[in-house]
Assembly symmetry: C5
Homo-oligomer: 380 residues x 5
């Protein structure tokens, strides 16, 4: 148990602890200003960890991947004419300079910047309507469940959807969107022919697909626990059940708001979301419903297992106590009678030659009577 | 227990494992393109298993059953004039060529094709509105519960409803729709006089009717468990209870979305669904409500049985321990007194002739006192 | 337990088993045509059991009860002019000829006929709108709970409400509606002055009133169980609790859809339902709410009783084990010491005259010490 | 336990048993006419118990209390001109003549009269719209919880609100509305300046205020139970918990429909309810929400206490059994060895002088070994 | 346990007991007038405790903090022209004179004054619409959770929002709003540039931020309990679990209506609330959703822990009883046999030299047989 790290909830919350705690304190100072204005970003310390910015321009006819080194130079240039969608992908949230540059260029809302930096957000979609200060943008936070060394973690992903631009922020560079890159590069893909909201759909779809291997692993764990319980179980089963329940609670806590988020995107009209995207969003929604369904099924299943295990334990206790009782009930009286004839007082029976065989006969009768009684009570 | 196969949920999901796993991996590659475009179908391996395509044309005056051998030739010909409804029934999902041909001819939506091939879908109705690319069609996924060798399986059925055409896909050829065929062949049947949506109703009705024998079997199992519990139960009852609970959870997981699906069909206006069909759908809806009601009743009933069983076990333990205690409480002190007079030290009592009868008298008094005490406490 | 008949749910479903199973198989053949067309009725076997058809014509000024012998002759004649409402009451569902005659004359919907014959329906109101084929009629199924030899049964009642006609079907002739007959006969009654829907209200009111004596009986059973539990309980209490829970589940399963049904009738506008009737329906609705409230209260109450009983059992076990432990803890060591001085090896203490009194003194000290320890632990 | 009277639900239902059962049977005759027509009132027996009728006329400038002796004479006279609101307060429901006189004068609806006489109604507001037969009136039933000799009772109060008149019926004359009388008499009170609906508000407010002392008493009981449980508890705690749970269920059953009732009054527009009254109703609504909140908190709290108690009992059992096991495990083997050397057969060890000290040494080693083993298992 | 003060709910209710009980009795006199008219305030005793009134005027260009000594003089003067928002902050609710002066000047609604003085209100927003008597104002009650000496308390805060004025009442002067003061003083802050409703947002945000350190503490407690349970647990764990559950219930009881309150403010249009404020309110709403989510997760987690603990206890009991049974089962029969040969009657075996070694051999065989049996049953 010692290797088991801190509290489960924290695990979901802190993403990667190093990066997270360096960025933003978990509990905000009470009364502090809401949101993070862009000029405040410079005040937040930037650690030396690498931040990768990739810009992907694509249209039906072309697709270009471009690693950005100088963010300011990049933001100053215009996008090529053939580009119908620009996807700016920022991996790593440690360089505040980069985030400020992007936030200023695209006039991101201070509340959104706060959410994007403050890890452990509940998945949600926020529509920051166009205002004199900020152009309208759809801001989306999602959580990607990962299994690291047997622990369940969540990586936060944030997206800003404009009309022709999608900006994505993720904590670490990893091949989550490899398949999406692949589809962008293949000439004929439906993705290339569609707009920025369809790209958002593809990214959310990729995130939701990450739930399935975790569910499969759960299914395996449950199977093992079921086998162990039905075979009689040992005390470690209890800890396994507890850990599995805890992980189920956490996963549901992530999947549930994802469902709300995707439902909102598939239902509500929003200028950035095309009709096609909304239809495809329903497909992700169906996946999430299925995930939640499975989680619920697992929950009921593990509850049934817990009950069965507990009943097995009681049943076992019963068996043990029954044995004890039979043994005691048979021998304790006999021992008393033997003790009586071991007394050193003048006992008439002790004079007779017949006493010993009679004693054994008496014992046999007593035992037979008790065995009969136990049989009648159904104990034997 | 060893004969018991893999995890319950998987059982519901995998239909027939051979066919299912050959078709489509359970967990999609994260980020892969959503839906299956028709040209991608050729890339999916087709196994050698037989696929049966049956075309049924009918109208008030005639009905023709036609086994299709060459799907392409068939799709190229026109339907006869007297045919008011054409039902294309495809049994077996292993020949991608057939599926592609039908999908291209009827312009089925890529998301629907994915759902139809990816077994283990949640029952649902999806209305793919007409678009320049695809004509509008109602796509329906249903699950047919089956009991195979004591295990609960679900067969997925998919339907595409057009104005005058119904295309149905099912995993295996079996006499599920025998009665429907029979009604189609009988001249006077209401089915012949109605439109394609009424055929859909008849098929869904047949699927829902398959729940009833399974419920009846449940009712029998519950009855057996109740008898066993009230008779005192043995430890196998626990495993039976656990298995029944698990199956109830699974069945509800199938029936619940079926209810939603049928409710949607009976309530929402849709161009393909006639008013008459909607009225008849309400009848299926009532059946599903009754099924869910029964499942809920069974669930409460089995919970009550579990509690009763556990209480019986405690009660039993109580009885056993009570016996143990009475025996011990009576004989342990007596044994001590016998032991005292067996000591080899000079004991005055051991000199007297009266000691032995007095000792027995003392024992009698002690036992009487204890029996009195137990009576007062209600233990005897 | 052997006298206890089949499964609880079945009991609710099968009404009277003889009549019910003769009429309609519980599980429909999958895929069979929905509904029963009138011409199919003749195919269903009619048993020889008596069917009573009563026709009651009434208006503000007159009321006539008329036992119908020849159903065809009766249906061919016109109703008298003074009759503002005609109530055709059919008791017994075994003569298909009668049912067919009525169904054809009043053009009853095939789905309604199926529901009316297929016992064990969920209470519901179905509005079959007027169509070229069928005139509009409100079809209502209700369940009347009855207590027969300690078992809870439900009798199904069906009603067809037209503008000036009410047709009622019931399984057996019994004085359920005696009071209603009485009110119809009394000149001044509000019932006589109102329309057919008010008659429907009166019949539903009579049905709902049948719940109250059953609830009262429950209240009595709960009281007995409570007394028994608080007095310590015996193992039969468990079976009583189980049976009561089961009956509560069943009764709620009947009352809940009755509530929905009456709510629908009191809320929805329907041509056959007058404003007055809707006001009075709210009164039945209040009754049903109260019934459900009581059932819920009973459920919580019996759950609390179960918990209390289980706790009492544990507490009792505790007490027993405590006694056992005290006895053992006091005498087992003493017995050992007595055993030691019974050993036949040379023991110096056995030589001394003082050993015996010292031994008793030692025992006294040991016992005193243990009693002191038990006191401190709160066991004595 | 013997002093404990009949069933809990009945207690809520029967108000004061004498009065209640004399008035109206709990279970209505099935099929009896709904509602009570005024002319039927005379048929109900009037007992000799005193009925007090008080008429209170008030306006901004004056307020007059008037005890009515002759109800018919009183109803024949007109109200004074200065009176803006007339409140007719009837205490006691035993004189059917009085009730009939009022019902006829104010044309009260038969269903309302039935509800008012039939005690144990669920709190509700019923708007009897104006009809040719009856003028529109708002009919309100409320329940006033009382604690009588440790039992929870409910007094039913009924109100008819007209435009300028309020008629109230209560079962017994008691100082429930003393404060309201006081406010009516004081010249400047807001109550005097407002209309009849504001008076209704004041009465409902007074009724709801009666919940608070009962909640406070609950809070005290819970505190005592908590102390008792955390101190280890005894078996009476179980009965206290059971009784408290039962009372909580009952109180919630009363408070919940009161909440609905007040919510309806504060939300729905109704001609008799002024805007000001609706604002003030929200205040009562807040009180009821708080009451239900507290009841829910108490429920969760007592559930937690039950669990804690049960766990404490198990823990205790554990401790006891542990002691038993330690004692037995140490002394039972030793006793056996002592027994061996007490055997009367030729035993070489019994010849040696060293045997006795060696025996004790052996015992010491055995005990030490066992103690070590227990320490390792964490039992000591 | 003795140090533990009164009942949990009371703790939430009474704020600081001294102040609270001096102000307003918990249970209102039934029937007393609703609300507190301003002239009644003088009748309520004012204790000598200090009340601090601070007036803060600010606009984009300036901000002035002003401690008010003479409330009447202060209220008589006009606010400076540059002031766009005036915040009157009243700390301490003991000087009725001050409250009356403010209530009269700003025409606060009597119901609001009652709520503000009557501590333990459920958080809520009440919109007192403008009436001839009172100008329209939004009245808001919030609860600030605090942890004092291990106990969870709630401080009530009340706010009256006008168009350009915010009046806040709090029970004690403490640095809750320090950060807000700081932001008001800093020239460029978004707060200074916005209206009074934005100030309200900042205050509510500060209050909600106070939940987070308490949640963190919970997370720590749960971690400790989990460790303790998985390590086997001791009986104190139960009390910790009980206390944590109780605190969770209480915290949820506070957070839940806060969520409703903030949701209402972010959703409903109200003249005092600007569009910007509503956007920012959604941010608080997200925080509250996260808080409730965490509380729910904690609840499920602690329930799982309770179950695990109870199972561990049973498992432990099982182990103990198993040991006891093994020891008894082995030695009790042996002791009997030793007792037999200690009897003083003529026993043939006692004559033989071989008896003693044979006896030991017999014992060895018996023990071996029993060990074999235990192994087969899986007890060893």
């Amino acid at each position: 148990m010692e290797a088991e790290p801190a509290h489960p909830t924290q695990r979901l919350d802190d993403g990667e602890s190093v990066g997270a705690s360096a960025l933003w304190p978990a509990a905000p100072r009470a009364g502090a200003a809401p949101g993070i204005e862009t000029h405040e970003l410079s005040l937040l310390g930037s650690t030396g960890r690498e931040v990768t910015v990739t810009c992907i321009d694509y249209g039906p006819d072309a697709c270009e991947f471009h690693d950005v080194d100088d963010i300011h130079a990049f933001l100053a240039t215009h996008r090529p004419d053939w580009s119908s969608v620009r996807w700016i992908r920022i991996s790593g949230l440690t360089d505040m300079g980069v985030i400020r540059a992007v936030a200023e260029k695209y006039a991101l809302h201070p509340l959104a910047i706060e959410d994007l930096l403050h890890l452990g957000q509940r998945p949600k979609a926020e529509d920051y309507a166009a205002s004199p200060e900020h152009p309208g943008r759809l801001f989306i936070v999602a959580q990607l469940p990962r299994r690291v060394e047997g622990r369940l973690l969540c990586d936060q992903m944030s997206f800003f959807l404009g009309r022709r631009t999608l900006i994505s922020f993720q904590l670490r560079e990893e091949g989550i969107f490899e398949q999406v890159d692949h589809r962008l590069r293949s000439k004929d893909s439906r993705l290339r022919r569609n707009d920025a909201s369809f790209l958002l759909h593809s990214l959310l779809d990729a995130i939701v697909d990450h739930f399935f291997p975790i569910l499969e692993e759960f299914s395996g764990r449950l199977e093992e626990i079921e086998e162990s319980v039905l075979a009689g179980g040992n005390s470690d089963v209890l800890k396994d059940i507890h850990r599995t329940k805890r992980d189920l609670v956490m996963l549901r806590r992530t999947a549930w708001p994802m469902r709300e988020l995707v439902n909102q995107l598939s239902r509500d009209h929003h200028e950035g979301l095309s009709e096609t995207t909304r239809t495809y969003m329903r497909d992700i929604y169906d996946n999430l419903i299925q995930i939640l369904d499975l989680l619920e099924t697992y929950r009921e299943f593990i509850n049934s297992l817990t009950e069965t295990y507990l009943s097995t334990v009681s049943q076992h206790l019963n068996d043990i106590v029954k044995t004890l009782t039979i043994i005691s009930t048979i021998f304790v009286p006999l021992t008393f009678f033997a003790g009586v004839y071991g007394m050193n007082m003048p006992i008439p029976e002790n004079e007779s030659e017949w006493s010993y065989p009679l004693f054994w006969g008496f014992c046999a009768v007593l035992v037979a009577g008790m065995v009969y009684m136990f049989r009648r009570r159904g104990w034997l």
